[in-house]
Symmetry: C3
Subunit: 271 residues, 3 copies
């Protein structure tokens, strides 16, 4: 990829802010990893809350510092609550992240994502490459054949979508792309063991939720959250003896993550 330039991001400063302010992070998320989402936000230093009833979703959002929407086990009622929560967050200028978990698998999932994106101001749309392609609103064909070309394709999709929806787009994968259409970052941290457990993607979105609660620059916040989460995963992998011990270590390592780890291990470029 041309114009690739290694940068340094002060992710540790944002992590300190999360730990100091302990922001309330409201979730309407899926029933599989809801427990992981709550725990990862907690060990990051923030306060998770989950309230999905239509009668209180908006009220709870208005008390929170950020809102995480994750459609992993959506149903029609939950989507309506998400709209109420997002509208409330929008009114109060509280940032919203949408994890388009499983988009593309069924038409229902994709169309409900599009409804959410159309009817609310979503600050960050996050998914893996195929999920983001599904909600990109047009046929996006990955043309690349080698990994550099594929990554270039991802960056183009992220930029285009970010410009279209005036938001930040996060495409997670072996390398993560984060773009607001003008500024595009590439993160190479993380560990292969992340794909051996359930919930890594959901936890990444919830971490981002904790960081956007304390920082308005969404590219900076999202990138910092991913750096912290993925560096914690690298540290966890060193002590893990299997998927379950890896997951336990992931929580413990994020809880203990310090500035030295972040400075020494971060791999981020501007592209």
């Amino acid at each position: 990829m041309k114009d690739q330039k290694k940068i340094f991001l002060n992710a540790g400063e944002l992590l300190s802010r999360v730990r100091l302010r302990k922001p309330l992070v409201h979730h309407l998320t899926n029933w599989v990893t809801i427990y992981d989402c709550a725990n990862i936000v907690k060990v990051a230093g923030a306060s998770p809350v989950m309230a999905h009833a239509p009668e209180e979703a908006a009220a709870m959002s208005s008390l929170a510092s950020s809102l995480v929407l994750n459609i992993g086990t959506l149903d029609a009622g939950l989507i309506e609550s998400m709209k109420l929560a997002a509208a409330s967050a929008n009114r109060k200028k509280i940032p919203v992240i949408l994890d388009v978990c499983g988009a593309g698998a069924t038409d229902f999932r994709t169309s409900k994502c599009l409804e959410l994106i159309d009817q609310a101001k979503i600050g960050i749309i996050k998914g893996n490459a195929s999920e983001i392609a599904a909600v990109a609103g047009e046929a996006v064909l990955t043309k690349g054949v080698d990994s550099t070309e594929i990554l270039q394709d991802h960056a183009e999709i992220a930029k285009k979508m970010a410009r279209k929806h005036k938001c930040t787009v996060v495409i997670t994968g072996e390398k993560d792309v984060i773009s607001n259409g003008r500024k595009t970052y590439l993160i190479s941290n993380g560990h292969i063991m992340m794909s051996d457990i359930v919930g890594t993607g959901c936890m990444a979105a919830s971490c981002i939720g904790a960081f956007i609660a304390v920082e308005k620059d969404l590219v900076y916040a999202a990138s910092s959250a991913l750096l912290c989460f993925e560096i914690a995963a690298e540290l966890a992998s060193r002590r893990a003896k299997g998927p379950a011990s890896f997951k336990a270590q992931l929580f413990d390592c994020l809880y203990k993550l310090n500035n030295n780890h972040i400075k020494k291990l971060q791999k981020i470029e501007r592209i």
Copy 2:
């Protein structure tokens, strides 16, 4: 605080009864920590069951030895099922504990707690200080400035509420207050790491659910449950390397908790 008197509670005897009888503890609880609630009841020696459908909530309650209601992720339908379950438990004289999780955060939450308290005979109302204040039914202002005064306030709120609703009130915190209006206990066990993980409060309520299943004196049962749970947390903290390993140790330590631990470590006063 005046008239404070160290006492000894035979919590180990109740724990033995739980392990021997393996009572069925029915839950209608939240979707975040439902898994923790089930597991903590299991390692305490009892049998958890979760059945929230309106068609069977009452039938399942009538088979159980106690009922745990937790409004952490309430919705209108779940509250109706809770009412059915509680009415069934009341008819059969099966004790009910209500965890007013998050009460005060939204009007919906607070009003649904009050509905449950009004429409059913709740044996134990449990929450932290702000949650209990929210459902106390009148403006309760904490007037205390130092920790002793604050604790005195908590004890007054607990006593007053217990008398009003003819129930036992449990206020959890650094020190827990347990009162039925006549008898008031103060527990100082527990560990700061309990606040680093999600679900501690919910698990405490579920433990109490297991103990009231085998003992009619609700103050004795609730206090014994909290002693066992919090002494297990102290033991767990000694071996924990972070929040995830603390949680794993908490389950293992409660499973293995014996009379020597309970006798040696309990810190309980009558006030």
Copy 3:
């Protein structure tokens, strides 16, 4: 029991197939152990997906290689989604396993199981002895007094029910019975610690879901899945210091399970 004959099952070959093909295993399951179900399928090498909305349950099933239905925390809406998912799976010849979790406890539970069995082609009906007896559709009284006689009873129930519904029946317990009415196996693997944690039965069903996704002979697939899961439990018990560490080890041991373990430790008979 007469005509008992030790056999050897190439369960390792099926486990390799799961790991190679990474089949999509669709679940409509309970909210307590949904997290365990997803994780056990993942560490077995397959890909779990959970989608319960009536609008997409059928579509998701049609994409999957098998369907797991578990009624642990059923409600009327979820059962309707299960019927849609099962009908879709039936049309595409995708195998379905039904875990009749808690059947017999309430009439609602038992009758909903019977509805599912009547209205869909269920490949495998799985439960413990009392759950299977409850859905056997007639009063089944265990007449046995010693463990051999009881086991004989279980085998008879399994065979009869398998013939009646033209399916495979799995009765889990200290010894598991697997029968399609013609072929009946008995598995003696597993460990007592499995009964100290929540979710063992659900995880067993989900493992079977992963194996039937790659093998049409349902008795072979179900037996292989149980062998792998229960041998992993035996290995886990060797390193476990309590229920929580046992559960973590169970995931890690299944993830690492190899052909040597399976060959050396399997205890299976044809009866």
